[in-house]
Symmetry: C2
Subunit: 391 residues, 2 copies
């Protein structure tokens, strides 16, 4: 990965957008420091995570959120815990046995895997850490493990790769989609598929940052996004921090906006894309797509190829989680509906492919028929991974 990372660095210039540090290593590499997103937008607070309990709590209580960032947090957290175990043993004047570390590693992985069972990236990232541990073992001199320290090093390298790959994926999505924006373009987005959902510059917001770097003046309308308000709390915050002009609207104001001063384009993220291009994303995305269609505004979905699920033929096969009624009835700390009122609160909705103008992945901009273009994108991504594996 490092060769590619350097290549990407070479393209950088003075204007390159640096996202708020969502996550980083503590100085000794024995802890991770995350931006506590539950404190946004009121305060910018960092939290150092030194124990598996702390990493778990940060994921469960949404201090870190967004599928890619959750996976990165688990991976970096595990690597830091391994480093801390090695250092603590050294400080006590001894050395950590490799068996001890492997044992602890299994427990950490098993525990963090359960932190949010629906986030597929979490399991994926933890599986990579498990495989990396096995590879480090097999690759060490003489076929035996040199030391717990070497295992911890291997884990740190793998977590670093996961983070770096995510950063590159975000940037490539941003570069492909920035071509859809001109100087002066206005964008509408829903929820947060920005830097704070990833390790990089986001997915749906990535082209906004890249186009801004290119000198284009871009403005964004951020849907508030009930019930959890990720649009007003997080998207508006990260865009304002980056100096991008952002205007917050309640979800139900998008219609009036399209009717009176329509945005030029809609960019949203995705939680799962079916093989036919039907897109599951945060509740409210479908209503936005219908409005965009009604007003002839292009509607794009931006997500890594890992979001494309070729085993799901169409959107009606995507299971939709129901959220707690109290997020609607008393989501703001006081009762805003009768305490016993029935609530229908799906976490996601499905936008049918005919309302999707294009899907942008790190492989490019894909158009209908999506059955073909998405299959090709996924194949290209697999070829890329195989190449990286050989390099």
């Amino acid at each position: 990965m490092s060769g590619r990372a350097n290549e990407s660095e070479m393209m950088s210039d003075q204007r390159r957008y640096r996202p708020p540090e969502q996550i980083r290593w503590a100085e000794a590499g024995d802890a991770i420091i995350v931006l506590d997103q539950t404190e946004l937008p009121a305060r910018r607070v960092e939290k150092e995570l030194r124990t598996v309990e702390a990493v778990e709590e940060a994921i469960q209580s949404l201090r870190v959120r967004g599928a890619p960032l959750i996976g990165i947090t688990a991976a970096m957290g595990i690597a830091a815990l391994a480093r801390r175990a090695v250092l603590e043993a050294e400080a006590a004047g001894g050395t950590l046995s490799i068996d001890d570390l492997a044992e602890r590693l299994r427990a950490w992985c098993d525990r963090l895997e359960q932190a949010r069972p629906t986030a597929v990236n979490l399991v994926w990232a933890i599986d990579r850490m498990r495989r990396a541990a096995a590879l480090t073992a097999a690759g060490s001199t003489g076929g035996t493990i040199a030391s717990a320290a070497a295992l911890a090093e291997g884990l740190r390298a793998e977590a670093g790769d996961i983070l770096e790959e995510d950063r590159m994926m975000c940037r490539r999505i941003g570069e492909h989609a920035a071509a859809l924006l001109r100087d002066g373009s206005s964008v509408i987005t829903h929820c947060n598929a920005g830097a704070l959902a990833t390790g990089g510059i986001g997915t749906a917001l990535a082209p906004v940052y890249v186009a801004t770097e290119q000198g284009k003046k871009i403005s964004v309308y951020a849907d508030e996004t009930r019930p959890l308000l990720q649009g007003s709390r997080i998207t508006a915050w990260e865009l304002a921090e980056a100096g991008v002009e952002v205007t917050v609207i309640a979800d139900n104001m998008a219609g009036a906006l399209f009717a009176t001063d329509p945005p030029d384009i809609a960019f949203v993220g995705s939680d799962r894309i079916a093989a036919n291009g039907d897109v599951a994303n945060k509740i409210g995305t479908y209503g936005l797509a219908v409005l965009a269609h009604h007003h002839g505004v292009p509607f794009y979905v931006l997500a890594p190829t890992s979001t494309v699920d070729l085993h799901t033929a169409s959107g009606d096969q995507i299971p939709i989680e129901q959220r707690s009624a109290d997020e609607i009835r008393q989501g703001f700390g006081r009762l805003t509906a009768p305490a016993q009122a029935p609530v229908w609160s799906p976490a996601f909705d499905v936008t049918p492919n005919e309302l999707v103008t294009g899907i942008v992945t790190e492989q490019g901009v894909h158009r209908a028929p999506y059955v073909e273009s998405l299959r090709e994108a996924v194949a290209a991504a697999e070829r890329d991974r195989a190449e990286r594996g050989r390099s």
Copy 2:
């Protein structure tokens, strides 16, 4: 009015829905008692209003809301203040001079007229009270005013008529539109155009109550209605109180609902209807209309003919008020967007007539072309009023 009221009473049966007492006279007629809507849905609290300051405060702080109910509150409030002034003078062993009462009356009317300057019904109701005072004076024996007590009586009769006319108007809208519902129908509505916005059984919700009286099983989806949540706070409360099945959704969930389990019909109220049938209503109504159109679900607007403004040719001539940014940024008592984030927050939007399946007034169900059908409805309402004036 009393003849018509009795006629309407004769149609009543055991099942007739009785709205929560939005407003009523105190026993001595010298105060009014309102249901404090700011306490809903957490608590059902009544508030007795004995002074002009209290009536003004109740209107300004939305303890009573909804254009018809605001007008009724002002009218009944003025009548009660007059009665109280007469009783207080009597209790002090004297009599109130007619000039004194007329003077106070002018001050009350001028003050309450300013309580919410945009609510057209407020000015309309107060004008009726002023005219009634003048008529009482002219009609008294010998061309001079018999007494302050007689003037107070005249005001009470006029306020009673305003309330009774509103009740009848609601019921007639409900009866016309109930024919659009069958046993088992599901309705989606936005904001609150129910009993708690009027003196009667509401406008958009009136057919739900009438159809329920007719033995039809009706269920309702209530949009939460950001920013002020009248849908979840008030519509859900009044429907649940009436025993009507109601489910709350966040505004951005309507799309998923239409896609997965579409309601049979949409009923909304209106703040102003242009001569061509374009409809201004609470922000979010237009988005709902686009969804209904996209899914082939009939979309009806229910409002009295007094809402039809034949002097406004089309919706683009309706001025749209911008609400405070903090209703979005910290509407729930804590910061849910960056404190300085620009917000675009129109109070209303305009639904073009081509998305409106029908407009229901107390005169019937009106269809396109609305330029003709609405003109006829307004003319019929004027004939009705003239007839009542003669009777």
